[in-house]
Symmetry: C2
């Protein structure tokens, strides 16, 4: 019955997200002696952990002295380091459960280990317009990669679409517009095309000098599939902002509307239209004024608001259905 061959180790990893100076940051750890970083992770132990999420919380608290608030399961990957074939025969098999966790930035604490998430996925930050590397590096390389694919008829499963179609949908070329939620699709394309370092580390694609040169510009690598988990986390968080008030897990208790907008912009990687954003927040009744106001260095002081928790009890799906301005 319980033959040993079907026993597997379950790894738990979390992308722990907060905001620091208008930039989303994730908590990272060093991985042994290598130069690549990892997410906080650990092994699920059914004897010690009541549930998967409980196990994750214990690991994170042990490794980071950080108490997690909001936690959400993302996805379970069966091919952690994807190069199954190259693994030593007796190696243990690991499946990997990825989580998203949100927390408030605490200036008091030991703040080592936080890294800007756009350092890992630089093409995702459109706050100052389209990142140049998309047109100069990524699209030419992906177009060349897509040449090697002659299929044309679309199938149901998106992963069976021809490469060129996937490219158009993921990166918004040929009249299709950029969808900030397709973070994972973009990363997977880059991985398959060998344009991120993990692809050659895993041995999925064989290294060439040209590829390695490109990889130097496509963001920082991570251990195992951790960058894929990060991409999944960003995608989920960007989507979730629109229908659940999760942004307030990251915001301090008191904040200005501009700070709220900048946080949403930082996460979604896009500019928002000021007036529409404010109207949205207003008639979603997500916040209430505290009465206080905050003097910036210059300019008119801004009114301070707090999250109106009661929306959780009132509305079916309260969120910031932000309408992205074109800019």
């Amino acid at each position: 019955m319980a033959d040993i061959s079907s026993a597997v180790e379950v790894g738990l990893s979390a992308a722990i997200v907060t905001i620091h100076k208008n930039n989303p940051v994730i908590l990272c750890a060093d991985y042994e002696l290598s130069d690549v970083l990892s997410l906080p992770y650990g092994r699920f132990d059914p004897l010690k952990h009541r549930t998967l999420e409980a196990g994750l919380r214990l690991w994170v608290e042990a490794q980071t002295a950080l108490r997690l608030g909001y936690v959400e399961q993302l996805y379970t990957f069966g091919d952690r380091g994807r190069a199954k074939s190259t693994a030593p025969a007796g190696d243990t098999h690991v499946i990997s459960v990825g989580y998203l966790a949100l927390t408030r930035f605490d200036a008091e604490q030991n703040n080592d280990g936080w890294r800007y998430w756009y350092d890992f996925l630089p093409w995702e930050d459109w706050r100052n317009g389209k990142p140049a590397l998309i047109d100069t590096l990524i699209l030419p390389a992906l177009r060349e990669w897509a040449q090697g694919d002659k299929r044309s008829s679309p199938a149901y499963d998106l992963h069976l679409l021809p490469r060129l179609t996937r490219l158009r949908l993921a990166f918004g070329t040929d009249g299709i517009q950029w969808d900030e939620e397709r973070v994972l699709e973009r990363y997977e394309l880059l991985y398959e095309a060998g344009l991120v370092r993990e692809a050659t580390i895993d041995g999925t694609v064989s290294a060439t000098p040209q590829l390695e040169e490109l990889q130097r510009h496509t963001g920082r690598a991570m251990v195992f599939d951790h960058r894929r988990i990060l991409a999944t986390a960003i995608a989920r968080l960007r989507a979730k902002l629109k229908y659940r008030p999760v942004i307030f897990e990251i915001m301090p208790d008191c904040f200005t509307l501009t700070a709220l907008q900048e946080t949403v912009e930082a996460i979604s990687g896009r500019h928002l239209h000021k007036q529409n954003f404010r109207r949205l927040v207003e008639n979603a009744e997500l916040v209430e004024p505290t009465g206080a106001s905050l003097s910036q260095l210059r300019g008119r002081p801004a009114a301070l608001y707090r999250f109106r928790r009661a929306v959780l009890e009132e509305r079916p799906a309260p969120g910031l259905r932000v309408t992205l301005s074109q800019r």
Copy 2:
């Protein structure tokens, strides 16, 4: 390093969905000698299966002679049979990865094993108005259960909300309206309150004659957490319909618009407004006429349509953002 205590078995289960005579059906298997059904399932074996999904496909094909098309991962549960504490000490630990799979109904094949999904979750079918059992049985029992909870302030994580709030949000009482996507929340409430048989099977709640009487009316039980996986599958599918054209994984190649509408209604468990549904389908350009038409038993023959696969290459998020009419 690889201490035996952290080795776990990974179970794969799938809710395989299709439509039969305007009712959603899922494929079930008998479970050993018991009277409760199970979903098709098997164990993930890293030596035989390249990925989790590949493992699932192999198991399903072995057990059902059915080829899966669309497959999507739902969730990984760490507490399969949730009564950890009552399990024998030496028992193997299983975590369970749930999948949603869609397929077309094939009248040619051996069609044993298909069951109406509303047999398992009868409160989810609102096509003929609100199911009576909600008001006669479920709400009174849940209200009584919610009495035993005195917390009042809402917290961020929905599971930390007071019971009464969760009840209002899940079942749409007190001015909040029914949200057909909250299938899992509803099932979890019923489980926690001991109103489904699994709760007493697992030992989470101790059985009383009153509870057992109620459980006879809250749908058919399943093995382990399979009914929870089914609830997750329904929730995901109902949500997905609105932004991806997955409905066409279930429809035959040619169909009338009425048949399409009835299928969407069957899955979402609600009535849709005919004209609006048609306009929606039309200006989403999801279908194209085949030219042929179909003579029903009575009435005007209906034009036949097929899925316009090209939408997959054109639109960012093609789906049936169905606007639910009140009726």
